[in-house]
Symmetry: C2
């Protein structure tokens, strides 16, 4: 690469980054399948044939998109550390999806729908998709553990399932308020979590 991986001086981002950003948007809106490389190239203002200089295959481009989600998720979680209590951090996590509720109602959770679609593909991309969700769930588990819960893993999975399920329903019914109301429910649930308690029943 003769070009830094990101913008220099005044210019817009390099072609590689433009392609990834373009693919991210289009894949969120249309899914992997309906998004053609011609679409991605046009939106990034890069000639079609040139895409293959940066990504050997379409799968590799999808992989780069997944990597960008992983990086973004990690950055987001780090940002949440600024909150003082584990409960506040968990509520910030829920609030993040709530703040995207309109986009989610239109096209679903970018990561959730991608995981769902890639699991039906044949490539090994599904593993990378799982890794994105795992980062978030592991982090949530850690927060619940800080609250003294032995069943932290289950609680983390429940919380994230609640978010992802609400995203699916909000998208299916094209109704962002589903996400907002579920967000309130989850926040109340987080608030209600008490001191250590035996798991199992």
């Amino acid at each position: 690469m003769s070009e830094m991986s990101n913008s220099t001086m005044e210019a817009r981002p390099g072609k590689r980054d433009r392609l990834i950003a373009s693919a991210r948007t289009l894949i969120h809106e249309q899914g992997v399948h309906r998004t053609t490389l011609a679409d991605v190239a046009a939106r990034a203002d890069v000639p079609l044939g040139n895409v293959y200089y940066y990504f050997k295959t379409k799968d590799e481009l999808v992989g780069a998109v997944l990597e960008s989600y992983t990086r973004e998720a990690a950055a987001l979680l780090e940002k949440f550390e600024h909150h003082r209590s584990p409960k506040a951090r968990l509520k910030a996590l829920v609030g993040n999806w709530n703040s995207m509720r309109d986009a989610i109602a239109e096209h679903g959770c970018p990561m959730g729908t991608l995981c769902s679609e890639l699991d039906k593909s044949d490539g090994e991309a599904a593993d990378d998709a799982a890794a994105v969700l795992a980062i978030i769930i592991d982090w949530a588990e850690d927060q619940f553990r800080q609250l003294g819960r032995r069943d932290a893993r289950d609680l983390a999975l429940s919380l994230f399932a609640g978010v992802q399920g609400a995203a699916l329903l909000a998208n299916t019914f094209r109704d962002p308020t589903i996400l907002a109301r579920q967000g309130r429910q989850l926040e109340r649930w987080i608030d209600s979590i008490g001191s250590p308690r035996r798991e199992g029943r």
Copy 2:
């Protein structure tokens, strides 16, 4: 149609029904996109060209699959009416997904993944997909209302979001126990639901 829509006497189901059943299975396993009409025809033991006698387009076949899910959901809910209490009925609903946990871990919830995929398509099939989920949510809302809850709609959406989210995670991580454990959590939650309570907080 010179043939009844289903089996007569000894023979296996008619071609139309075989095509729908074949499409159902393949779409669950591979998604709509990867499932070609050639696949569907081969599995149903029907020549490719003949598919178009029964379904004018692929979309129409997908529509028939959606319709079969709608019918199945309605039959399932009716079966649940045999349980005496609303709580038992709701737990039966959760138990239904739990009983399919291995298949769900492999390929996701048949209806949930289909809704997700169709929402990224352009056709109007997405509306039919939403109708399938709506039947179940409306039913659950009714159960919560029978429990005297004013916020029955929110509770129904929360419950179903919990199920669908867990299905997504079970599929993404290929781990059926996620669904089993979330099922237990949801059952406990149902049990804990008390008498009427002001919604909102």
